[in-house]
Amino acid sequence: MGEPVTLTNKTDLTTCLPFERPVFELERKLEELQALSDSASMNLNGELRPLLEKRDKMLVEIVGRLGPWERVQIARHPRRPQFRDYAMGDQGRPGMLDEWIELRGDRLFGDDKAISTGFARLGRHRFLLIGHRKGRDTKEKLACNFGCAHPEGYRKALQKMKLADRFGLPIVTLINTPGAYPGIGAEERGQAWAIAENILEMSALRVPTLCIVIGEGGSGGALGIGVGDRVLMLEHSYYSVISPEGCAAILWKSGEKAPEAARALRLTSEDLLRLKVVDEVVPEPLGGAHRDAATMVGTLKAAVVRHLDELTAMDADERLSLRYAKLRAFGNGLPPLDPPPEVPAPKAEKGDRKAEKAEKPSDRGDRPAK
């Protein structure tokens, strides 16, 4: 019992999701114990360690029970790692890149901050990195339009992709957008045309292309930088033809039915792997990427290197014909999925609360022992 027990990857009260609440409560108790352990120079590691294990067990159980709607909430979590975390790093944590040279502007209209493009180096791989940016604080979020790109964002991406294609640089894209922006300016400048052109050109690029959904895969706005040789998805990200809220508003005539729409749309990584929309699911740290950004960045880095190794070793013509075959087969000859999980989302949440209440007395019971 020599090593002190440290509590890492804590839940944060302001960003805590409803189903994370029991974890938060347990962690608070853990912290109290820890403080006591430090100040009273008592070694409480014996008590702390089982509690820490209990938290991790709790997380495994909660994550295993999460419905598609809760998964969407994890994908949108404010502390979820974003483009910057993966690229150059954020909040003192390193990113996955060894070098990053941002390239701006679409040469036609402007520079859309909702999509970032630039030269990136990761070990021996030099490539073009493209990604949606949502922004962390209010100012940055506004500048990035919350990750909703305008046509100039897609045209910037295309201009850089053509550049990469000419100079033989592979392309990696990080997808994280609620959707392409539906506004007057976006329509006037041809949002549909911009996205359509990107999809068409990406299907025929001669360089290797790797696309990764790291958070929200919002419809055409995601696909606008999402056509590639390989498409990966982080475990708790989602990818959908329409937002659950939008789908619920149209089909259920009520935005409040979003949890049901999320279930019906089959937008989770496991379902999309079965539907062959994505090629691989990248596992997230226990409880979601937001609980342990450093581990997430490391996992994704390894996945990127592995896929770039494989893709760059392939012959360009072979890669192109495989890519075409994959795109061409979307939705063909698939067996129907199992029916969506029957348990509606809110019930699981109620269960959590009960569990939480049940645990309280026993936790209190532990206290006199210290």
Binding site: A180, Y181, P182, G183, I184, A186, E187, E188, R189, G190, Q191, A192, W193, I195, A196, E197, I199, L200, E201, S203, A204, S219, G220, L223, G224, V227, Y239, S240, V241, I242, G246, C247, I250, L251, W252, K257, E260, A264, L265, R266, L267, L272, L275, V277, R323, Y324, L327, R328, F330, G331, N332, L334, P335, P336, L337, D338, P339, P340
Partner: protein, 303 residues
């Protein structure tokens, strides 16, 4: 006379049709409107037109040979929209009309020249693109590539079909990949935008034409007007996202009356893919009812 009674008498079963343009609203013999390709004889408003009738309008009689007719929709997601399963919705829609899905595709001849054609049917679940629509459009593009004949697609769709989830989204990639091959091979593609054309269809093959033609008044955009209005919380100006607006913004080459569409497409194709035995002058003026007046001053000088 009570309003409800009057309203009832205004629409006797099938004999008369009311123009769907709210500003016009005039009644005409259904037969007259049908013979006029569903264009209002009073105001020229282009009403929606069944895909089958569009094929008849564009192709030489009896020349159409379908592709992908056997591709049938499958409810892979087992989608239930709260009121009914998607499978049942499909059955109901199929029973209602003559269309088997929201797209007809195939080969045919147009003014004697072979073409590949795909037409979306707004009457079938809003012309929404699911796997079948994506597959048929891609098959039409591949037929065009195999035969090295022009591709013509008439798009009229609310966008991707939500009931097929991400699979419908991926049809954007499927169709675009097929169009990319046409582009690389130098096979011309004429895209015709009919009212309305939004979402995943407008953001894929419909926006990828070598020449893009829109029908007058057609609403074309990425997001539908209601989505935009609810996002920016203002009402949109009149004419926003209409064909004329898009032509002004630079996204549409020509706005063409449906009744002249076939001739116009043939005239364009004569430039992009002239047939060896095609007399040049004839085709270049095929879209005009009279000889081009621009030639006259020169002729006068000669006289």
């Amino acid at each position: 006379m009570p309003w409800s009674f009057r309203k009832k008498r205004e629409v006797p079963a099938g004999l008369w049709t009311k123009c769907t343009n709210a500003a016009c609203g005039k009644m005409a013999f259904s037969k007259t409107i049908q013979e006029n390709a569903n264009v209002c004889p009073e105001c020229g408003h282009h009403m929606k037109l069944e895909a089958k009738r569009r094929v008849d309008l564009l192709l030489d009689a009896g020349s159409f040979r379908p592709v992908g007719e056997d591709v049938a929709p499958v409810d892979v997601l087992r989608f239930h929209d709260g009121s009914e399963p998607y499978e049942q919705k499909l059955k109901r829609t199929r029973a209602k009309g003559t269309a088997s899905e929201a797209c007809i595709a195939g080969r045919g001849t147009m003014g004697g020249r072979p073409v590949a054609l795909a037409v979306l049917d707004f009457g079938f679940l809003g012309g929404s693109m699911g796997v079948v629509v994506g597959e048929r459009v891609a098959l039409a593009a591949e037929a065009a590539l195999a035969d090295r004949v022009p591709l013509i697609v008439v798009a009229s769709s609310g966008g991707a079909r939500m009931h097929e989830g991400a699979l419908s989204l991926m049809q954007m990639a499927k169709t675009s990949a097929a169009i990319a091959r046409l582009r690389a091979a130098g096979v011309p593609y004429v895209s015709v935008l009919a009212d309305p054309c939004t979402g995943g269809v407008s953001a894929s093959f419909a926006a990828q034409g070598d020449v893009t033609i829109a029908e007058p008044g057609a609403l074309v955009g990425f997001a539908g007007p209601r989505v935009i209005e609810s996002t920016i919380r203002t009402t949109l100006p009149d004419g926003f996202q209409r064909a004329e607006f898009l032509a002004d913004k630079g996204f549409v080459d020509r706005i063409v009356d449906r009744r002249k569409l076939r001739d116009e497409i043939l005239a364009v194709l004569a430039f992009l893919a002239p047939l060896p035995d095609q007399p040049l002058l004839e085709t270049a003026t095929a879209g005009e009812p009279k000889p081009a007046p621009a030639l006259e001053p020169h002729g006068k000088k000669g006289r």
